[in-house]
Amino acid sequence: MVLLSVRDDMAMRALGARLAGACLPGAIIYLVGELGAGKSTLARGFLRALGHEGSVRSPTYTLVEPYELPAGQIYHLDLYRLADPEELEFLGLRDWLTDNAILLVEWPQRGAGVLPAADVIVTIAYDGTARHVTVMAVSEKGRQIAVALAE
């Protein structure tokens, strides 16, 4: 488990970039935190670090934003508007679960039961305008990512 204090937006993006550097193909990363905590900001830093150059649009309404990057296929999901985990089937979840695709999932709780288990769970908690971030490994792959992140 890695504990971090994040001061502002820029630091959150930098953390996203660090996580991207430590990430492994096929990793499933849950991003947990309240509205406005900075989940999308972290995802933005993550995607930019892997070579995405355009804007990082919020997946809240589209539920998923796919990215084809040199590092591989990445799916940025936001399940906030999911009424039922089974809806993931209508969205094409099975097509995204390849060996190499990385999944960044905001509001994973809404997909419980259908969404595959995480390798890493990133939790962001409020502390005034700063944020406490916990990176927890929940699989062997997740452990390798956490170790690389801590270095």
Binding site: D9, L35, G36, G38, S40, T41, R44, S55, V56, R57, S58, T60, Y61, T62, L63, V64, P66, R81, A83, D84, E86, E87, F90, L91, G92, D95, Y126, G128, T129
Partner: protein, 338 residues
């Protein structure tokens, strides 16, 4: 030419029938009707994106209610992108294969083209060219529309859409969904000038939008206030003013940059009264005219797809024998209809 339109790019399943001579003949949204048993409306609470089980019964019911049959159709238009690939493939699969079975042409329609042409369904339709501000839960963009298929993206959001900012700020303030009306309601009790939200990306040139910062600003402002009802109303007002003002600044720039005198406001956010008023003032200042489609054609609907598809089919365009949908599809890639 009578065209069936199918919209299934995201949450809504929308079906419509548009005739090039008679105009819009019928339109419906799954979420707004009771589907009768005889058309297959057996499952009361289908998930919002379960287009598979909604589309065919909806088509059957709309045709029956209009006194039409499949044989009366001359073409089928369906949304082929951008949107959720799983959702799009349902409309494309049904639309393309139904047209094939009927021996009539099919056409793949761009969802945003549908929105841009939605004001054409109104009696007082804008003439080309015009500037369109499309603001909804999923999109915020400014587009220069020279004609059908001739679009230039002037700017769009780099993060959250405006409607999304309304919904999330409403949630932060403990208000209901959808956020737009909820915020507008309590903002009426707000104290003007108590809080001032930033006008994102207005202090530098360009027509890009960014709304994710307003959400964070709302969180922090709420945390620093007493959190009472008056403070929430004051925050709601400051938020609403910031969105309307930001959009007015960008629309003014777009009108200046293009030299155009017609401004179209579309998308769900266009229902916001403060925004409409602010843009009406802007239009008046610039000697321009403001247009917006009726509320039901601002949000996702089948009518705009039937209309756009009809224009393309009349021009002789159609889709080959292939079922194709695209999650991403730049507006600029569309071919012009002349």
């Amino acid at each position: 030419m009578r065209i069936l339109g199918i919209e299934s790019s995201c949450d809504e399943t929308g079906i419509a029938i548009y005739d090039s001579e008679r105009g819009l003949e019928a339109h419906t949204l799954y979420s707004q009707i009771e589907l009768h048993l005889e058309y297959g409306g057996v499952v009361p609470e289908l998930a919002s994106r379960d287009h598979v089980r909604k589309t065919v019964p909806l088509i059957k019911q709309l045709l029956a209610e209009s006194g039409l049959t499949l044989a009366d159709l001359d073409g089928i238009a369906y949304t082929a992108g951008p949107g959720l690939i799983g959702a799009l493939l349902v409309g494309a699969g049904i639309g393309r294969s139904l047209a094939w079975s009927l021996g009539i042409p099919a056409v793949a329609v761009h969802h945003m083209e549908g929105h841009l042409l939605a004001p054409m369904l109104e009696a007082e339709a804008p003439a080309f060219p015009f500037v369109a501000l499309l603001a909804s839960g999923g999109h915020t963009m400014l587009v220069q529309v020279e004609g059908i298929g001739q679009y230039q993206l002037l700017g769009e959001t780099v993060d959250d859409a405006a409607g999304e900012a309304f919904d999330k700020t409403a949630k932060l303030l403990g208000l209901g969904y959808p956020g737009g009306p909820a915020i507008a309601k309590i903002a009426e009790q707000g104290t003007p000038g108590r809080f001032r939200f930033p006008r994102p990306m207005t202090n530098r040139p360009g027509l890009e939008f960014s709304f994710s910062g307003l959400k964070t600003f709302a969180v922090n402002t709420l945390a620093e206030s007493a959190g009472d009802d008056q403070s929430k109303a004051d925050i709601a007002l400051a938020f609403e003013v910031a969105v309307a003002e930001t959009m007015a600044i960008k629309c003014r720039r777009a009108l200046e940059q293009t030299g155009l005198k017609r401004l179209v406001l579309a998308g769900g956010v266009s229902a916001n009264r403060r925004l409409r008023q602010r843009l009406a003032v802007l239009a008046a200042e610039r000697g321009a005219k403001l247009y917006y489609p009726r509320a039901e054609f601002c949000t996702d609907n089948g009518a705009m797809i039937a209309y756009a598809g009809c224009a393309r089919l009349m021009a002789g365009q159609s889709e080959g024998l292939v079922i194709q949908a695209r999650a991403r599809w730049p507006l600029e890639q569309l071919s012009a209809v002349t």
